[in-house]
Structure formats: C-alpha cells, structure tokens
Subunit: 303 residues, 2 copies
C-alpha cells in the first residue's frame, strides 16, 4: 500500500469500499454450501458501516511499511482488515439477539435474527468467528507473524477481551460501576478489538518492537476515547446522525462516562486521550498521518 495523498475523508471511504470488496470476495456464497447460512453471514457483514477497525489496520500498516510496500503485506493487511470486521460483525449479530439487547434494527435495517431467524443468526455469528481466523491463517507472510496475529485476535475477542467485556456489561445494568470498573469493562468490550486492529496492522507490516510500543500507546488511548465519545453521542446526537436510538444507554440505566463525569468533563477526557494518542505516534513521523487523522475523526465526530 503506497502512502496516498488523498484527503482523509476520501481515504476513509476508499478503504471502507476496498475492505467491503475484499470481504465480498472472501466470504462464501450461496453456491458454497448452506445457502441460508451463507446469506445470513453476508447480510451481517456486507452493506456498509464506516469500517473504523479496518481503517485502523490499514493506517497502522502504512505507518510501518510505507517505504517498502509489498504485495504480500498488502494482501495480508486486507485479510487482517477483513478479520477484524468479521469479528465485529459477529459480535453485533449476537448482541442484537433477544437474549442480549433484543434490537430489531441496525443501521436502519432489520437485524439478522429478524431478517432470518434466531437460530440462523446465532449460527451465522458462530461461523463468522472461524472465518476470521481462517483469513489470518492464509496471510502470505512469515508464519511466525501469522501466529502472532492470530494470538492477538484470539485474545482481543475472547473472555478477557470483547466477549468478557460484554459479559461484564450485561451484569452492570442498573448497578453503580466505579470509574475504574467502567474503564475495565469498556477496555475489554470495545477497546480490545480497536487495539488489536492497530496491533495487527503493525504485526503484518513487520513493525519493530519500538514501533509496536508506539502503536500500543496510541491504540490504548484511542480505544478508550472511542467509548467516551460514544457515550457523549448517546446523549447529544439525534437519531438520524447516530444511526441508532439515542439515549438508549441512559434509559436502560447503564453507567456511561457522561453519567459518571458529566458532559463537559467527558469531553475534556476525550480530548486528553486524543492528545495522548497523538503524542504516542511522535516516533513514527509523517507515515503515521492516517493514524493521526483517525484519532481526530474518532474524537471530533461529536462536534
């Protein structure tokens, strides 16, 4: 991937379209076996979204190997970007089920269990997980790096990452979490996969140990900032710009950064995290442009 000179907004749309095309190509179709299941998997994964996680993979990748782009790395970044989007998609499908959040709409469309049925939605989510690991296992880079990438994704999505965060979230409804507890829950539920996206870009592009550290500092700050801004948007945005029902968390008495800190302090916290993320990137120089722009995009989307 040669560093592009596109304006950020155009780059982001371009990356989203690109990963959508790769997902479309990599996912099994109706002719490849269980047609209804494959339909449901494609419905769950394809059809848009900002693809922030995929963008983080690409941005981290370009920050590490802009001097020596290679086809193997580019194609591996594609697979890694698909993998994080597949895991994200599976988590949404299961999260929307009646036994979890019982949501009937996502991005204005019927959720998978509404469009198909509960059993198919569950199996579609179940089958998206191994597909993510399969795509990573097929990356045409050094097997030792492939193994590292798989470890990263497995840990980020498992019981001490995303799935664990969802479990804590479930039990937190109506309870008074401390700021530390809230932070732990979000760093697992949302932060772990955002951090893994950045780390995967670095691993695939063969980042040095110092570069990986810089990426990790950036990713930890951004993972948290993402959730703080989500909480702000939940109380400030209207339904149209949010793409989901605003005020839902507050109505369900879920603890949020806004309920805990107040709106203004939450905004200051998000801004401090953005600054911390940018400082972590300093050693990477101009190649980290897309990562800086993503930090601005994630934090400033509430303005």
């Amino acid at each position: 991937m040669t560093p592009s000179t596109q304006p950020f907004a155009q780059w982001l749309v371009d990356r989203a379209r690109h990963v959508e095309a790769v997902l479309d190509e990599q996912m099994p179709g109706a002719d490849d076996g269980p047609a209804r299941l494959h339909d449901a998997m494609r419905y769950a994964v394809l059809g848009g979204g900002k693809r922030v996680r995929a963008a983080l993979v690409y941005a981290a990748g370009v920050a590490c190997h802009a001097q020596a782009p290679s086809k193997a790395v580019d194609s591996s970044l594609d697979r890694a970007a698909c993998a994080v989007e597949l895991i994200h998609a599976y988590s949404l499908v299961h999260d929307d089920l009646p036994c979890m959040d019982n949501d009937v709409l996502r991005r204005g469309q019927p959720t998978v269990h509404v469009k198909y049925d509960e059993a198919t939605a569950m199996l579609a989510g179940d089958a998206l997980q191994p597909l993510a690991f399969e795509l990573l296992a097929e990356m045409p880079i050094a097997p030792a790096l492939v193994v590292q990438a798989i470890q990263l994704l497995a840990r980020a999505s498992g019981s001490q990452g995303m799935a664990g965060g969802q479990a804590i979230d479930l039990q937190s409804v109506g309870s008074a979490l401390s700021r530390d507890e809230l932070q732990t829950m979000h760093s697992m539920k949302t932060g772990a996969m955002l951090e893994a996206s950045v780390a995967l870009g670095g691993v695939v592009a063969g980042a040095s140990s110092a570069t990986r550290d810089a990426l990790e500092g950036y990713a930890q700050a951004m993972g948290l900032a993402f959730q703080v801004v989500d909480d702000i948007l939940d109380v400030t945005a209207d339904s149209a710009s949010l793409g989901k029902t605003p005020g839902k968390d507050a109505a369900e008495n879920k603890p949020t950064y806004v309920s805990l800190l107040g709106l203004e302090a939450a905004r200051e916290f998000a801004e401090a995290l953005r600054q911390a993320a940018l400082e972590s990137l300093a050693p990477l120089g101009p190649q980290a442009l897309r990562l800086r722009e993503l930090a601005d995009f994630i934090v400033l989307r509430d303005r």
Copy 2:
C-alpha cells in the same frame, strides 16, 4: 508421548483424565476477569465425557511420532486436544439454547443456559472459540505447522464444516433428505470435527504426506461411522446407557440412517466403514494401534 502398553479401555480413560486436567489448567478462572462468564465456560467444558475427539488427536499423534517422542510435540498434542474439545463444548452449549434444540439436560446435568442464563450461555460459547485458536497458536512447534493446524480447525468448525452442518440440520427437520444429502449434512456437522481431530494429531506430530493421506482415509470413514452408530443408538439404546433421551431424533421426524436404510442395513454400513477405516491405516503399521482400537470402540459401542 511414548506408545503405551495399557489396555485400550484404560488408555482411553487415562487420555480423558489427562485432557481434562490440561483444560482445567489452561482455562481462565474466576480470578482472571469476568467471573460468571469464566464459571460458565468451565461448567460447559469440564466435568467429563468420553473425550473421543481428544483421544483421536492423541491416537493420531502417537501413530506418527512414536519413534521420537518430544516434549514440544507432546505439549502441542495437549493443546490440540484441548482445542477440539473446546470447539465441541461451545457447539453443545449453543445447540442446547432455546432457539436451537432447547435442551435442559446434558449428561444428566442442567445445560449452561439453565444453570446460568441464555445470554451467559451464548457468550460462554462465543468465548470458547477464540480460546481454542489461542491454544493452537501457542503450540511450541514450527510456526508453519501451527498455521496449518489453525487452518484445519477453522475450516472444520466454520460454515463449510460444523456450523454449516448444523444449519442444514435445522432446515432438514420434517423434510425427506436423500442419502447423499444426509451424508453431506453429517459429514459437515459431526464428521468435519472428528476428521480435524485426526488431522491435527498428524500435523502436530509432523506426519509425512503419505501418512496424512492414510489418516485422512481413516478419519473420513470414522466420521461417517460415528454418525451411523449414533443413529442406531438413538433407536436401540435405553436412556441410561445413552446419556440422553433415546428416540428423540425419530420423534422430531429428523432423517437418520436408520429411517433411511433400516436398522440392519445401517449396522452393515457402519461395519463396512470400520473395515475401510482399518484398511486405510495399513501403511502406518503397529503404531496405529490406538486408532484401530478407537475405530472398534466407536463402531462397536452399539453392541
């Protein structure tokens, strides 16, 4: 793993106990994060079962490397055995949920969603999947072999393997499947993971291409035999020896090998598959003893 001279029944119990101990050690506990989720995961995985899949991993491993046992291979076989049991356990947890089979008992104990709740059961299953891939990714053997093992497990458990077979099974209730369709469904739903278990043992032990072919022939025959015998047991066994309600498939009008072929022809078919499996093992010589014994065990358990 040195080839043992234990009688088969003792070897099988020993392997089941061993993999149970390794699972217990490898699985996160209540102190490692979300306590209720980790409890549910342990409840789903630990506490017995014949561990046929783990036994297939070990039996294939010992068939390939009995001359030169190594600690790295032994510890990798342990991880591979855990991985197939984790995937099997997750599939049972999700299968038992109300939106699937709605089973309240498994091995005489309350199913996970009865003991905990539906959301926790779903998340426990979700989190067992990445744990399986994480254990494979940690195997201390050549990274290229680790990657092959992960590909095997991902394909066997995904939409063109186990999860896909479950989707086809769901849609087959009350419909008249042909023998070919029934075979496709079972080879995906049950066969794929049994075959992967055998193949994993071979990959981890560094099997040659010829040995892998022999293992594959064995595994395909045994994967199918396993289901044919399951169908036979569903009509011939009593509840106590079966560990679940007999006649359930027939009552739900699910197509089975018995309903399709009749009891006697189903028994002949299982025996023919056992013979085919044993023939495939011929090139492996005496080291394949445990695989031969497992073939007998799987097919002759209906007598």
